[in-house]
């Protein structure tokens, strides 16, 4: 009898132990400090609040609570790698490096460790080729597709003809900033526009030379691949030389509230690309208010809700949660591993019904990830800033990129990477 009681007690303890231990570990590489904190804070708040909402409202994902492991990188690549090394042992299911530099460093490490990376709209563009990059995903879109969407938008604006027009690219002089150049060069050949490239060195506090050059050359349109203070200064300088804001389009990392507020009314009409919905007109924000903010559980001061970058990581968190659900469904277990998570990401199917169920109807395009395509469809919209109301609004539907050009570039770059690293192609 005694033995039976001891056995039962042990079994209960073990069961209880495993129940406590079952959790979904998601590291978050935040940067709430340093020169890029202005962007890092809303990004961190959105991701954290989404999972707090799931934990509070639903008890986690399919009843399994999510544990976020925060690690501060200060947007510094070395610190990002340290964060990865120090957190991967905690059962990390997926990394969102939030930096192209960190992503590049983590690709070989995470691949060797079997942990998936999701670099949503940043990182290595050619990682969209799942045949080469087994563990890296950059759905729903990437930089090259962004460049193509911007050009397609300008084609629409010009009756389908850009020949003879000049498009200037003002870019952060880094791996990130240089990403769209190749695509734009290809597209300029295809559509006959002139491309002018203007590099801005980190951090971008001083851009007088670049904007004097733009004033001299008078391009028809300016595209911007910037981040941090570079964005604010560029928009101010554009206003200073009276460049028409409606002809100035930033990538989605150059189109947040913080980028336009310093320029005040002068920023009115500035445009940026978007990969997800803008504003607070989605039911999920009511739930965040009720279950997160009102309970005093918001990651920050609760003042970032509905801002562009907050929404961006709400979307990233939603995609991660859906991938987790898919992984649980595929493998028939709630106790998933990073490998299972990878499978879930590769089989991810985002439908309008799923977005609506999450309180995010129409928040992004529908798409499906596959073994070959880790990058999604690459759809992007254009948003525009209204300085009088202090709001961004989507002014287009989600538009398709030029897949003919982009897919060829992705294939070429990823195959070169595969050859360089002796990677055996998969998905056969």
């Amino acid at each position: 009898m005694k033995l039976k009681l001891v056995t039962m007690a042990l079994a209960t303890a073990l069961t209880a132990g495993s129940a406590v231990a079952q959790e979904l570990v998601l590291p978050w590489m935040s940067y709430r400090t340093g020169p890029y904190a202005v962007g890092g804070i809303p990004l961190a708040d959105g991701y954290t609040d989404y999972f707090t909402l799931l934990n509070e409202r639903d008890g986690g994902i399919n009843g399994v609570p999510v544990r976020l492991v925060n690690c501060e990188t200060g947007y510094n690549t070395e610190k990002g790698v340290e964060c990865y090394e120090s957190t991967k042992g905690e059962g990390a299911l997926v990394y969102q490096p939030l930096s192209t530099g960190i992503t590049y460093q983590l690709i070989p490490k995470a691949t060797a460790d079997g942990i998936p990376i999701h670099s949503m709209g940043y990182g290595r563009t050619s990682a969209a080729n799942g045949k080469v990059f087994k563990n890296v995903f950059n759905y729903p879109t990437n930089y090259w597709q962004a460049a193509s969407v911007a050009v397609n938008y300008l084609l629409d604006e010009n009756g389908g003809d850009l020949s003879g027009k000049t498009i200037a690219l003002v870019y952060h002089n880094s791996a990130y900033g240089k990403e769209p150049i190749r695509t734009l060069e290809e597209l300029s050949k295809k559509h006959g526009f002139n491309l002018s490239l203007l590099a801005v060195d980190h951090p971008g506090q001083e851009q007088k030379s670049q904007w004097l050059q733009i004033r001299r050359e008078r391009p028809d349109y300016v595209l911007m691949w910037g981040w941090g203070v570079m964005n604010q200064v560029a928009i101010q300088e554009a206003a200073n030389i009276r460049f028409p804001m409606e002809n100035f389009i930033g990538v989605w990392w150059s189109g947040a509230e913080a980028d336009v507020i310093p320029a005040g009314d002068a920023a009115n009409g500035y445009k940026a690309l978007a990969m997800n919905g803008v504003g607070t007109n989605f039911p999920i924000f009511d739930d965040i208010q009720k279950y997160v903010v009102d309970r005093g559980l918001a990651a920050g001061a609760g003042d970032q809700i509905g801002t562009v970058l907050y929404n961006r990581t709400i979307y990233a968190a939603f995609l991660a949660a859906e991938a987790i659900k898919t992984a649980m469904e595929i493998h028939g277990t709630k106790d998933i591993t990073p490998e299972m998570m990878r499978d879930g990401m590769e089989a991810l199917n985002i439908t309008e019904a799923k977005m609506a169920a999450a309180g995010m109807p129409g928040f992004g395009p529908e798409f499906q990830v596959s073994c070959e395509n880790h990058g999604g469809p690459g759809l992007g919209a254009v948003q525009q800033w209204d300085a009088s109301t202090g709001t961004w609004s989507l002014i287009t539907d989600f538009m398709e990129p030029d897949s003919e050009v982009i897919n060829a570039l992705i294939e070429e770059d990823s195959m070169a990477y595969a050859a360089e690293n002796n990677i055996e192609l998969r998905c056969n």
């Binding site: 020169p35 004033r215 203070v229 604010q232």
Partner: protein, 332 residues
């Protein structure tokens, strides 16, 4: 006149204007180094902190409100009033003076007679502390700074110089904010020169700069001088913070403007106020002209950051003490 020549002139003029902004940052370094031999690594953060404080006071923000809300569960957002820019500037100057007193009391006083490298390391610590302190006090979100300074190209200059060139020349572009910065820098230099030449404290400051021991022996209080000079450097940082913050908004990358001051210091010398100004002008004009003539057309652009250092190094080779720096002669 050929348009290319006019464009080069425009680049040079804008370079001079940018140089003034660099010089404003460099001035703070020079003041402290001249009087105490300390290379104040925290000068860029001082500019950031001063600008944060100015905006916080103008907007009626409650200092440490996020911290207070987190600890006490309150929902403080602000005092509910806005402070006029002039009054906010005066109050910010007061805060910078208090900061100078705190630096002297809590750091410098305990490091008297320590090697220069220790003092330098202390300012590195101070920089990181101030950045975190500023974050806690005012928050890390971007803030629009509007003290009523004009911005944007001057129509008048554009219209009255457009006739100089052909159809492709639209007149010289000169940012009105840069003109204001130039005037502010001129007033600062004149004021600092007058202060050091014609006031008792200014003479004491120069005496300390020349020889600490001798100054002490005639009864000059080193501690007072340190508070004085760190206060002045704080005021200079405020001016730099206003000018740079008006361009980009007040945010934490503002502290990186110190990077633009280093080549100016190398060129102008660490101990000369006119050196900081002239150094700034040379660096500003040199980097903009290089970018216009060589960088953008032949090297893919973005040459300004490194070219400024190349230019400074070239000067260093021939004048290691900088253009206006004191030549150190040690007799054995």
């Amino acid at each position: 006149m050929p348009d290319q020549v006019l464009f080069a002139m425009e680049a040079a003029i804008n370079g001079l204007m940018a140089g003034v902004l660099y010089a404003l940052v460099a001035l703070g370094f020079v003041l402290i180094f001249k009087s105490s031999g300390i290379f104040n690594y925290a000068q860029g953060v001082f500019a950031l902190f001063a600008a944060l404080t100015l905006v916080g006071i103008m907007e009626g923000q409650v200092p440490f409100q996020h911290l207070i809300n987190a600890i006490f569960g309150t929902e403080l957002h602000g005092f509910g009033w806005e402070t006029p820019a002039i009054l906010a500037v005066v109050l910010t100057v007061g805060v910078m003076v208090v900061l100078a007193i705190a630096v002297e009391r809590l750091i410098l006083r305990h490091l008297v007679n320590q090697p220069d490298i220790i003092l330098f390391m202390a300012t590195i610590g101070l920089a990181y502390f101030m950045e975190g302190f500023g974050d806690l006090m005012w928050g890390a979100d971007i803030k629009k700074l509007d003290v009523g300074l004009p911005q944007g190209g001057s129509f008048w200059i554009e219209e009255n110089t457009a006739w100089l060139g052909g159809d492709g020349f639209y007149g010289f572009f000169i940012d009105r904010l840069d003109i204001v910065a130039t005037i502010a820098a001129a007033i600062l230099v004149i004021g600092l020169t007058a202060f050091s030449q014609f006031t008792k404290q200014g003479r004491a400051l120069r005496a300390v700069a020349d020889d600490h021991q001798a100054a002490l022996s005639v009864g000059i209080s080193l501690r007072f001088i340190w508070v004085l000079v760190w206060s002045i450097a704080g005021i200079v940082a405020l001016v730099a913070g206003i000018m740079w913050g008006s361009k980009s908004g007040v945010q934490f990358s503002l502290s990186l403007i110190a990077l633009k001051a280093l080549p100016v210091l190398m060129l102008g010398g660490f101990t000369s106020i006119p050196g900081a100004i002239v150094g700034g002008l040379i660096i500003g004009m040199g980097e903009k002209l290089f970018e216009f003539l060589i960088g953008a057309p032949f090297l893919g652009g973005a040459t300004e950051n490194w070219f400024a250092y190349v230019l400074a190094l070239l000067f260093l080779v021939f004048r290691p003490q900088g253009l206006f720096g004191d030549k150190i002669i040690e007799r054995v």
